[in-house]
Symmetry: C2
Subunit: 179 residues, 2 copies
DNA sequence: CGGAACATGTAACCTGTTACATGATTTC
DNA sequence: GAAATCATGTAACAGGTTACATGTTCCG
């Protein structure tokens, strides 16, 4: 039950159409909550039926015609409720770790190359986040909203840092130093 | 498509019944791939139909009667194939980060308490992992299989370390130092 | 006017979650 | 023999993924 809340957050930041939302989910929001356009349209329909959002009035909107949404008071209230509600952290679920555990049983053939590939990808992602940090959070900005967005980005940076370091150590430990 | 492979790995480590698997998923395997007993029984049925595993022969097994499974060659081959195959890392999907982003829009009311609660939970999990490391991986054990299982546990430890540190920094940054 | 890019959707499927059902074995 | 626990399952639903369908606008 998080996608609707992700969408409400995005729409509060800026009213948008389905495709605009999709693009924003491919960028900033998608860094911690990804979604495809099919999910987004499906959810926009539900949110509209539930009275959480409404389509900005324009001439008859048919298929293929842009449709912008904005959040209604009920939607904002629901988002505030959800944000404050206590939630348990989800247990980790990671394929790469599972594959390493499997490799202890069926052998490591072929997995090293993919570890190196992941290292490259995580390094790239880390560099991207650091660019964003430099651009969007220069020292000094410290309104509460900025600090909140900054700690979220920090989580992304620290996580990517963890993965790159862990992959480097793992490759070394398994006798195959990374690129 | 990871649950069947998690089950195959577990069964190769030790042939088991559905309930035994469930218990193991609540412990070691569940640290990086969780599953409920309903998922496990459903998947065991599928794997058996596909010829990847078979029930160890015992007298007629009816409902309520224990049923042990072992992996067949086809299942082992499929696991080896899957382990070696290249897979992309899944994008991050974290509710707590999403809630912080939402808090930048609807306000932080009530979220601080949950951040502190998460900090407690992550500290506890970290302590548990460190216990396991001390018990199962004393210095000196270095067969390849042990090293593989150790790096997986290391990932768990480092991830929990990341979360505790990030939560401490975040609570401080938001003007509310952690417990 | 034809093709690319924009824009919204449908349908089928797979995985995971929640609630419930049922039988077998042990223990008091 | 009743209750607790062990053990295997069914059903309904929610959320995410993949493939496909359809209409609109812009540009050469």
């Amino acid at each position: 039950m998080s996608l609707p809340h992700a969408i409400l957050t995005a729409l509060l930041e800026k009213p948008s159409s389905g495709l605009e939302l999709t693009r924003r989910f491919d960028k900033s929001i998608g860094y911690f909550w990804s979604a495809t356009h099919q999910q987004i349209y499906r959810e926009l329909g539900k949110l509209e039926r539930d009275g959480a959002i409404r389509a900005l009035p324009r001439e008859q909107a048919t298929r293929g015609q842009k449709k912008e949404y904005e959040v209604l008071p009920a939607g904002r209230a629901e988002l505030a409720r959800w944000t404050a509600a206590s939630q348990d952290p989800k247990p980790l679920r990671d394929t790469l770790l599972l594959r390493l555990r499997a490799a202890a049983v069926v052998g490591m053939d072929g997995i090293e190359a993919d570890l190196r590939r992941h290292l490259t990808l995580h390094r790239r992602q880390l560099a991207e986040y650091e660019e964003i940090e430099k651009r969007d959070f220069p020292p000094g900005k410290d309104a509460v909203e900025d600090r909140l967005r900054h700690v979220v980005l920090r989580a992304g940076i620290d996580l990517e840092t963890f993965w790159t370091q862990w992959l480097e150590q793992t490759l070394e430990e398994l006798g195959a130093p990374g690129a």
